[in-house]
Symmetry: C2
Subunit: 254 residues, 2 copies
């Protein structure tokens, strides 16, 4: 029978703990409810605090829990669905998009980003910082890189750094005809600045969405958006606006 899989594989304690806690969350806790503190929980289950924490970390990664230093551990609401590019998306900053332009400067993009342009070089680019807010909660931070060559009109205007400059860059982008885009999603950990924006600790898990925008046969802009992996589910609607629905009984307790 190959492997009878006797109890030869002792399940790690933290894994078993996670299962137990997960079931307890389903049956005994409401969304938003506060769990006992880590020291109590550890004692209750007869494990070291570090082991208990390993289980909690997993549950937080799966979006089941939310932990805040100085406050406590609460039961998280179901992840919020955030739409990422419905079919043929539009330019960033198009009317009705969900982003708020925060700031803009000129900077040399990291090498990984520079590589995505057709003529990679250590060139300064317009760098627009934006934030995506859903239900009053920042769910994503974005850096949009636009080479000066993509928005030639702008160089003449010479808007000082700041949100106004960001809006100017986006406005210039709209004038181009968007030919297509290209997306990739991968796991990452929040850099210090993004973490701050997302109200998380540095290193928190994030989903990194990299988008290339094409116009005139060239890559004219690259966006790197980092979404909170604990609270977000990225949706890609290929067919109309149907959305994967999760029962909405959550939100706030007590």
């Amino acid at each position: 029978m190959g492997t009878t899989q006797l109890e030869s594989v002792p399940e790690p304690k933290y894994w078993h703990l996670k299962t137990v806690l997960s079931e307890a969350l389903d049956s005994d806790f409401a969304v938003g409810e506060i769990l006992p503190n880590e020291r109590d929980l550890a004692a209750r289950f007869g494990v070291a605090r570090a082991t208990l924490r390993q289980a909690l970390e997993q549950l937080e990664l799966e979006g089941r829990l939310q932990r805040r230093r100085g406050v406590g551990t609460t039961v998280a609401p179901p992840r919020t669905a955030v739409s990422v590019g419905t079919a043929q998306h539009d330019w960033p900053g198009a009317p009705g998009d969900a982003w708020q332009t925060a700031d803009a400067t000129s900077a040399v993009p990291p090498q990984a980003v520079a590589r995505l342009f057709d003529a990679p070089r250590g060139e300064e680019m317009h760098t627009v910082r934006r934030t995506r807010v859903v239900h009053g909660q920042a769910v994503a931070a974005e850096l949009l890189y636009v080479p000066a060559a993509s928005v030639p009109e702008l160089s003449a205007i010479d808007v000082p750094s700041g949100p106004a400059r960001g809006r100017a860059v986006l406005r210039e982008l709209q004038r181009l005809e968007l030919e297509g885009q290209d997306r990739a999603v991968e796991l990452g950990s929040a850099r210090a600045d993004d973490a701050k924006e997302l109200d998380r600790l540095p290193g928190a898990p994030v989903l990194v969405v990299t988008t290339r925008y094409f116009a005139g046969g060239r890559t004219v802009a690259v966006s790197v958006a980092t979404y909170r992996a604990d609270t977000c589910r990225l949706t890609f609607g290929d067919s109309g606006d149907v959305e994967i629905s999760h029962p909405g009984q959550q939100r706030r307790a007590s």
Copy 2:
């Protein structure tokens, strides 16, 4: 600048360590090279092994390292791009798709999946297990749920459980006209069975891609695919087949 950001915020050791190691990986190590073991590294940096491990975990999460019990820690190659639904995708199992049908049974799907169908009920469904292999490496494990009502012809045939049954289900699906699909990506942790398939430990971080298939105005199938988050970058090509390119070589050893 507003906040002068004095050294009032002492960086955690593991965070600093991660940065240092990351830079060392860039400059001093080639892909596939073996790092010193954890005890040595910890001693070298003058920290406890647990702290060193916290840094390594982050780097593994970011796809920079690969750790294998009993073997050691190696420098990971760049993540492999796996295409997930180029524009209007096809049915699962269509010719040329990247999946290998492994098995099929009948089972009641988990509640979270059942909810995605139009008439949620605790109904048994065809449950097809597939694996996606790239470069000889299993990168994803999938469970495809197909209600009996979606493939009415099949019930008469009565194929016994196993790969043949899976192929039969897929064959029947092709006969329907695919009207659209719906995708969501979120972070999860590998269940024990998926972990085994992906050659990872249980709880390893995975990207969970949930797809609904529509035909005849109904949801006729739901796929839950779990991709290794450490080694995969999911690509969504909206425009032709352009692919975000990463140069194959990361860095040279000195």
